[in-house]
Subunit: 875 residues, 2 copies
């Protein structure tokens, strides 16, 4: 029978064996293979971990035997002996899963020591204190990490000892103090565990390996896996490595370094070095390390050696590296290397530099960049030094990233006034609604008391690229007094605040903003995306300004232009209201005639900016009651301005339009069916504007008219007929031939199921995954914040379906719709618009499903492009 | 090449050829084949109709030729000659589609006449007046029906003539008057059509045939087909038959008769006979016909002959027949036979009698009964004579059938007071809500101003079996004055009204009710259903009374017991409110403890009635805000009764529970996830009641606990765990082993798509097609009345999806769920609960999809049983 290999010596593996050896182990093997100075060792595989857990926590003898054999090989290589009193081989034991994971067991150092071998170590190093401190550390780590004794119990003993010998710092302990402390530790150990501290190195090692395996199942690791979609059957490996000591004197030391600057991306070694210290001294931060650049002067030989290693590793791993190293008695050892974390700006710099340096090609460079990097590189941030100075006074949900400062404004009017006076405002409200669009647009940032990442404020703010914090529940607004209580402070309207919506924090000081603009690197990366992506990225843009922004980020056109946002403006809403209260087609058309020139003007401006790209315009979608007067004053005004309208009748109309579930009510194409004149007016505006834009500005955008909320073929035909009839009239009147398309949103589950029939009538599909998610899950976005949190925290949903497309539900419906749609028309253009269109995992799904484009808010265009390119390359 | 046969002589077809020959034609053939006295003729097929329409209204020569050949055969058979002046063959031309359809061309009689042959007819019959009146009729019918001249133009000429000759009745015209009138008709014809009235019999015939074919496409027929789901590619046939004349003197006559009494089902010939008349004289109602039974005395030979024909036809067509016949000079001719329409009571009588008479077997008898027959046989109706006496004062939508009288009540309290005083009430409200359940339950009938067939009042009333009229928009309620304006009348609370909710009519008089009870025939039919149906029928029953009713109608158990309806009672709602406002688990559990014994008592009572059948109990489903106080008074009461609660805090809680789209909000299993103690209490009540019911009453119902609104597997597991843990505790405490099941509603589209995962956790599925329809269509039942009507009227939907399951959308999702669910557990029990469960077409779909049961309101159980049995037999 084939004998499973559970243990690999470092020279038996390589970087590609992450699944079996874990990330850390695979890289240690790779470095060993490269001939780099890595302390020798071996790896117990992830398979052994799974085996261990399958056996309910018994480590099989065949695994144990392979470990013992590997120890023998290590002994041969080092000339030392594991468990020997006079020439002991000391080891470190570390966990190492396929990806780095919090909650897993970390590190045990100095394994192999006991009461006798510690003396040998003391004599050999001629440093009793070092030897006993090493032993103390080992006993403590083993007791805590392997056997689960609470670390505070050890710390209490240390404190007691300090008081007894009247010292303040650990470093003041003499070797005798430490020796006594170790004895105390062992007494504690026996009390808690019920047996003596193990003196056998082999017992210590096997127990340590089992502890690592067990830690794969500890609650924090389980939760982390759930949240990050890491399968529980990956398991973790164990890395067992010969100890080296950075704390053996001034020719020793330890360091952590990046091969490039992780903040700026500059090509320079970046990191810290601490002479005469071990790794955890650096982490503990008791002594201040020196910048690694100083090592160049202190020890040019080691430094040059280190720089060479950095360059070699970058070429081998094809990415910027984050390394741990130790110098023992003037000899350099590399303990670990991995791809380094970096800021957005650095990420772009490194990617473009590495292409220039021919370390990676463009595709590889694209795969190095995280979507969050692009996002990060775009949003204004506060100066990091300022953030250290001030404490936030409230923390909410980071709903739309970015930073802003301004004076508090509690009403939309206040914001508009401030704007006129050249003042920046932060809008603070209990929650926002469609009425607030204008105010939000004029504000620099938004904070709401209620809501989550998908509440109205969040969605609109992200669409506008305005920073927004939602669910800031510690805020209390007093509308009458015009004050805001935030934590212990009472602020007034007009007081300054700063908000960091990337972290969700609110400050009462004015913080300085560092705004990064679209850099050359950014543009380079976008050009690569266009080169390798098979999916286009359009923008959701309702104004000329939106289109302008979208173009900066490389949008391939406008995938969704919502006509209703144009309706909320002061001058227009009156005409809309007249249209709604009209009791016959003639008055309705009269009101619509007032709106026509305004809509037309909007479209001309948008087309001018769109140029010759496609632009998809959606017919009026929201329920009519959203446009109705909200205050008694507005009602009176409306009554006055409409002939024959009484307050009583208006109230009746308003009551009639009230809905129990507006999401499932009188909206979308249902409006066009009930009031064809609205669809007619919009069609006319769309096409007349197209003619005018071409005449005035020479642009020829590809106009696509999109029908919302379609549920079946007959509805399609009916509305299409309204559009075509009106369009023919317009084109005939102007004697023009313009190629326009008519398509539909697919945003109702039924539409997916009858997509073949719909495709017979429509020229394109655009998935409205927001509504599709709400209806598939029976989950209202606005109402779900209350309970969705409980669901996500308890892992009752794999992810927030409003953030990432739910593959099993919504994704399955999309698949059906695509297959059915293309079965009728194989060239059917299919896209997606809405929030998911700018979310990387969802873009990946869209690419895999074969969509032609995604459409998202202008500020998400670049991120979607990157996600699309990465999915295309991966495929 | 194969030559298509477009024309069939009567002896060439049979009853099975409805598709090709139409219903009427096929039956004429069958009767001819049986040797019955049918005036000979032939049929132009439906295929010819389709051909004609494909050729854009040109009748192909090959069809024409086949018609001419058939005429020759007729001539040979009758010894007369078509178009001949001296021995003319006269024909009738009638349309005849596969099913009878309004809007189609009806009849042309006496075709073949012209100015010369009319004289021959006059001489032969020795009756000039008869001959010229026949000719006058033909010219008028041809002008109107074939050529499309407005009939009023002919009628004007008739009126003019009457004035000229100073008579009042048509029958007073002399043959000379008629001759002049015919001349006037022909002048009119020429003016309108531009050519002379055709004298050629062949031209007349071909034009008549074409007119029938064209009438297939006329708007009224098209709309009727759309509404009744009749494919437009069926086409119509044309029946061409030798004329016989019932108006040739006293030994002639015409009649219409049923082979059994269509009102009672009694085995007696039932119908009218009019001596010396043609068919349309009977229809026109100018002369009063005699009951056909009198023919027995007048002409016993003909009568006996006719009775024999009836019995023969019944045995041949295996159903009660509705016939037209003519006696020409003492000779009986059968002109038409078809299955007769009948009342519900008659339908059951005929079905059971025909089985006894061995005319049909039980399966065939079941197929004869329409679901509406059963319904009709169950609902109380007003005495038909009373209905003739009084005029309705308002008409609304018939939302829940039945009749009722009572005094007007505008509030629930009023109804309860009336009930205490032994008075019957009719609840009249603008619309109803969950609050009104108690009042509705105590009322005899409900009328609402707003709403349609699927509004709250309609659904609840149907569930309760209470008559209900909705959308009675001519009613105005003045709550303060306690008056109701209906049409021209102002009624006060306490005034008597009668409502006929089967027709939607409201009367201001007290009408007498004739209540039919469940008859022996009804029981016999139900027993056949049980014998042949493969699908069980359960009832939606929330109370002991509901269960009792359901059992009368043969329910196989309780498929849905909604626990929330029990919560609305005065004494309980207080505890529920305390539970909702509880700010910690302890106070919540305290409130729930108050409810526990009440719920338990409810369940014991239900179980007692259920006996050993299954009973499916659904955990709390509606959004909590439905239970909250509605008035300030109720709020104050609540504040007083709960320790530490302030009005401010209550308002805050109530605001927090407000939802934009409650349908998609915090309800269903989301309640159990957020407040496990509710699910625990209910589980305890369900199982403790089970134990008590067995001990006290010896019943052993199969208890099934159903979780609402499940969207995925993890949610299932979570709630299942809550239920199981509590259940184990209860069973251990009482030392009992009870086999209970845990299952889920499938009412969210996503649940269908992940049904395989859900089936791993759940023991049964029950489709909630109400919500599934709302979510699949994005269509709120409560809000859709406004625009759904427009959709249905314009044919934008094939049918009202809340009435009949939408096969393409909801049906497709159900299919996916069933396939996925059974792929994991092939014995998975699957059913449906909700409104569709009692609708015959939906039951048919459920049977075809392989569901184990449907569950519907108690009053629909019998109808569902019939539909299920019919679908099973059909399969």
């Amino acid at each position: 029978m084939f004998k499973t290999k559970y243990v690999y010596m470092f020279n038996e593996g390589n970087a590609k064996m992450r699944e079996l050896l874990g990330g850390k182990g695979a890289n240690l093997c790779e470095m060993t293979k490269m001939g780099l100075p890595v302390p020798y060792g071996f790896i117990v595989t992830t398979t052994a971990c799974l085996e261990y857990n399958k056996q309910n926590g018994e480590l099989d003898d065949k695994i144990k035997n392979q470990i013992y054999n590997s120890i023998a090989k290590l002994e041969k290589k080092t000339g030392k002996k594991f468990g020997d009193d006079r020439n002991p081989l000391l080891l470190s034991v570390r966990s190492g899963a396929r990806v780095s994971m919090p909650g897993m067991m970390d590190t045990i150092l100095n394994l192999g020591l006991n009461d006798i071998s510690v003396e040998t170590l003391a004599n050999k190093t001629n440093n009793r204190r070092f030897a006993y401190d090493s032993y103390r550390k080992f006993v403590q780590m083993y007791g805590e990490v392997v056997m689960g004794i609470d670390n505070s119990e050890f710390e209490k003993l240390i404190d007691k000892k300090k008081k007894a010998v009247k010292i303040e710092k650990d470093s003041e302990f003499t070797s005798e103090d430490l020796q006594e402390l170790i004895a105390d530790f062992k007494t504690l150990y026996k009390k808690r565990i019920g047996e003596e501290f193990p003196t056998s190195a082999h017992v210590q090692l096997i127990n340590a390996v089992c502890a690592v395996f067990r830690s794969w199942q500890n609650p924090r690791a389980v939760v982390y896996r759930k949240i990050n979609n890491i399968p529980s059957d990956w398991g973790t490996a164990v890395n067992i490595q010969t100890m080296v000591f950075g704390n053996m004197g001034e020719t020793s030391g330890t360091g952590v370094a990046f091969t490039r600057n992780p903040n700026t991306g500059a090509k320079e070694i970046y990191g810290d070095y601490l002479p005469n210290a071990q790794g955890e001294d650096l982490v503990a931060g008791i002594r201040t390390p020196m910048p690694i650049s100083e090592l160049k002067e202190q020890n040019p030989v080691i430094f040059k050696q280190f720089v060479d290693v950095c360059r070699l590793l970058e070429r081998r791993f094809k990415d910027m590296q984050d390394m741990e190293f130790t110098v023992e008695n003037g000899k350099l050892y590399i303990l670990q290397t991995r791809n380094g974390k970096r800021t957005g700006v650095a990420s772009l710099q490194i990617a473009t530099d590495m292409v220039k340096e021919k370390i990676v090609n463009e595709k590889q460079a694209l795969m190095m960049i995280l979507p969050s990097h692009l996002e990060n590189a775009l949003h204004p941030t506060f100066d990091p030094k300022e953030l250290e100075k001030y404490a936030p006074i409230a923390v909410g949900t980071p709903a739309s990233p970015g930073c802003a400062t301004g004076v508090i404004a509690l009403t939309n009017q206040k914001i508009l006034d401030n704007k006129e006076n050249g003042k920046d405002s932060i809008l603070i409200r209990f929650e926002t609604s469609a009425d607030d669009i204008e105010g939000m647009h004029a504000s620099n940032g938004v904070v709401t008391v209620r809501g989550g990442k998908t509440s109205h404020a969040a969605v609109v703010a992200r669409g506008m690229g305005i920073p927004c914090i939602t669910g800031c529940s510690s805020i209390e607004i007093d509308e009458k007094k015009k004050t805001v209580d935030i934590g212990d402070f009472t602020l007034r309207e007009g007081d300054i605040v700063s908000i960091d919506a990337t972290t969700g924090k609110v400050y009462k000081e004015k913080l300085n903003i560092r705004k990064d603009i679209v850099s050359d690197n950014f543009k380079t990366v976008l050009s690569w995306c266009d080169k390798y992506s098979t999916i286009k990225v359009m923008a959701n843009a309702d104004t000329q300004k939106d289109v302008h922004t979208a173009k900066i980020f490389g949008a391939d056109g406008v995938g969704l232009c919502r006509t209703e946002h144009m309706f909320f403006e002061e001058s227009r809403i009156k005409a809309i209201r007249e249209m709604i209260v009209a009791d016959n087609e003639i008055s309705r058309e009269r009101a619509l005639k007032k709106i026509l020139p305004m809509q037309k003007r909007d479209f001309v401006n948008i087309y001018k900016e769109v140029g010759d790209m496609p632009v998809t315009i959606r017919l009026l979608d929201p329920p009519l009651h959203e446009f109705l007067p909200k205050t008694e004053l507005e009602k009176e005004e409306l009554v006055k301005s409409v002939n024959g309208l009484t307050l009583e009748k208006l109230n009746e109309i308003m009551n009639g339009l009230k809905e129990f579930n507006p999401m499932l009510g009188f909206r979308g194409c249902r409006l066009a069916v009930a009031y064809p004149s609205i669809a007619k007016m919009q069609t006319r505006a769309i096409l007349e504007a197209r003619i005018e834009a071409e005449e005035k500005y020479g642009v020829k955008p590809n106009v696509e008219i999109m029908i919302p909320l379609i549920t079946g073929k007959r509805e399609c035909k009916f509305v299409k007929n309204i559009i075509q009839t009106e369009a023919n009239e317009v084109l005939q009147k102007y004697g023009k031939e313009i190629d326009y398309k008519i398509g539909t949103m697919i945003e109702v589950p039924r539409a997916c199921l009858v997509a073949d029939e719909i495709a017979e009538e429509m020229e394109f599909f655009s998935f409205g995954t927001n509504d599709l998610t709400q209806m598939s899950y029976g989950l209202s976005r606005d109402d779900s914040t209350k309970f969705l949190k409980t669901y996500l925290e308890n892992g009752l949903m794999e992810q927030d379906p409003f953030e990432t497309i739910d593959i099993k539900g919504v994704g399955a419906l999309m698949k059906v719709a695509i297959e059915k749609g293309r079965s009728v028309n194989k060239d059917l253009k299919i896209g997606i618009c809405g929030e998911h269109g700018g979310e990387p995992n969802s873009v990946k799904l869209c690419q895999e499903l074969g969509l032609n484009y995604v459409s998202c808010s202008p500020y998400r265009v670049a991120i979607a492009k990157l996600a699309g390119a990465q999915a295309s390359i991966r495929k």
